[in-house]
Amino acid sequence: MTGVAEPVLDIRNLRVTFTGGAKPVNAVDGVDLSIERGEVVALLGESGSGKSVTLRSILRLHPAKRTRMEGAIHVAGTNVMALEGGALTDFRGKGASMIFQEPMLALDPVYTLGEQIIEAILRHENISTSEARRRALDWFERVRIPSPERRLDTYPHEMSGGMRQRAMIALALACNPKLLLADEPTTALDATVQVQILLLLRDLQRELGLSMLFVTHDIGVAVEVADRIAVMYAGRIVEIGSVRDVIRSPRHPYTLGLLSTRPHGGRLSGNRLPTIPGSPPDLANLPPGCAFAMRCALAADACRIAAPEAVEVGPGHQARCVRTAETARPAGAPAGVSA
């Protein structure tokens, strides 16, 4: 036993390149991230920012032939990049497991939910089928599925969206994984159902002391579940810090922009939303410097030459920006955003 607790997840300089197309696509471009035991980190970003790719890398779900992965990933001491064959499949579902965005697509349509959960349990535990079924039923009760006994024998398409996602959560937790990965688990759900699932995840997380990496594009969702938020843009984490720091005093111009473009509250007549101009860069054709520079009002020459290093802007709060001095509050209106 060492004094310092080992992080549950430790990612060092992860790079993921998809080589299947005409040009290699740099989906993840040097990500460092660690999650402590019992901690929830939200990976926040828009489509194409590399957040889901990062998440799937942890289970090595990308097709090996068309993907180049570099860097180091450790989950509770296990070197994930070195796992092969049976060791890799042992790790998946047990070391780390995953909740998908669309349970309708992520569950096999021709097997019942019970069969799919029992299959996962039997894969990792040496117990009888009836024991596994009891365990599955127990998980159905814990994710608060009404009449769980009956629901175990239904097919995915026979359930409503919220119930399917609960079943997906039961499946992911069935083998007591050390790390839970969630890929936009509430995006496909209605607002009234989304809250229920978020609360369920938070309760289970507290109860079981889960460590969780939660990918989302919705800041509100991230605020609701996370201890820390990591903001991704064009394959890099541009800002990371506690929820309070990132939401109340964002220091990267992209985070600032993202927070202010959200319509909230009513609109006074004639008001327009602040926007980030332009659109995200082409991942097959990234500029040499900061990928956000071409949309950034604060961009200087230095931004376009080399990718900025992470700057410590507070305790545990970092931003990959050379102009963090300018983004510090209380400078009135948030900078880096054109109205």
Partner: protein
Amino acid sequence: MFTYAAKRVLMTMPIMIGVSLVCFALVHLAPGDPLISVLPPDASQAIKDQLMVLYGFDRPYYEQFLRWLVRAVQGDLGTSIRTGRPVAAEIFKAVGNTLMIATLATFIGFVLGTFFGFVAGYFRGSWLDKLASAAAVFGVSVPHYWLGMILVIVFAVQLGWLPPTGAGPGGSEDWRWNWVHVQHLILPAVTMSVIPMGIIARTVRALVAEILSQEFIAGLRAKGLPELGVFRHVVKNVAPTSLAVMGIQLGYLLGGSILIETVFAWPGTGLLLNDAIFQRDLPLLQGTILVLALFFVALNLVVDVFQSALDPRIQRA
């Protein structure tokens, strides 16, 4: 489930009636005198008229059709002009013979086809895919009657391993399940199997590739299933459609056996059809086509109901 089957049966009724109508009309498309094959060229008009009345050819078409239909429903397909025997009995015997090679051919085709299909779908883009796909393209491209001839040349004429034609000693009248007879099955069945092999291989390849690209495959891997476990799921997803294709292929072989049976002189429905056409034996022609088409319709129905029972996604209300 039962409602679904009942609904399907009901939906099939108009098709069956349409099929009967087509079978009936088909024969009346035929130019020339329907009695040409039984009458001597110098037959008197009186005899001609007498026979016309006997076979019912003198009545209006709709009446002929209705009479024919009513009798067909009762299992009476008329009398063969050429042999004078009941058409139903002739067809019954021939259907049995055709069913024998068609079933064997479908089985061989299904086994090989699913194998090639899975290999090609799993290793899409690799040389294994190219090889398996080549086998599939061969299956759907080769003129099977020609392939039959080639096989006869190689295995019967050159190597002398298998008999070239026929159904063995005593023909189909004296069929036994022994090697002397069974070896007559091999060449026709293998020849016939290339078409279902090709079609099933192509279908399975496309299905496997499509299923492997779905998100739930990532879901299965994420929960730690090894490739063999994932494969089991792929099989269960592919099964309903590929079994349905197999069933329909059996129907195609039954109806399309004429070319193979001609090459191998196999005494099945195809040979019967061939005789009926060239001897202008209209009742026999009509009856054979009707039985084969209705068989195909019924088979489609069974396949459909079976598929819906197998696939939980299909609404069975």
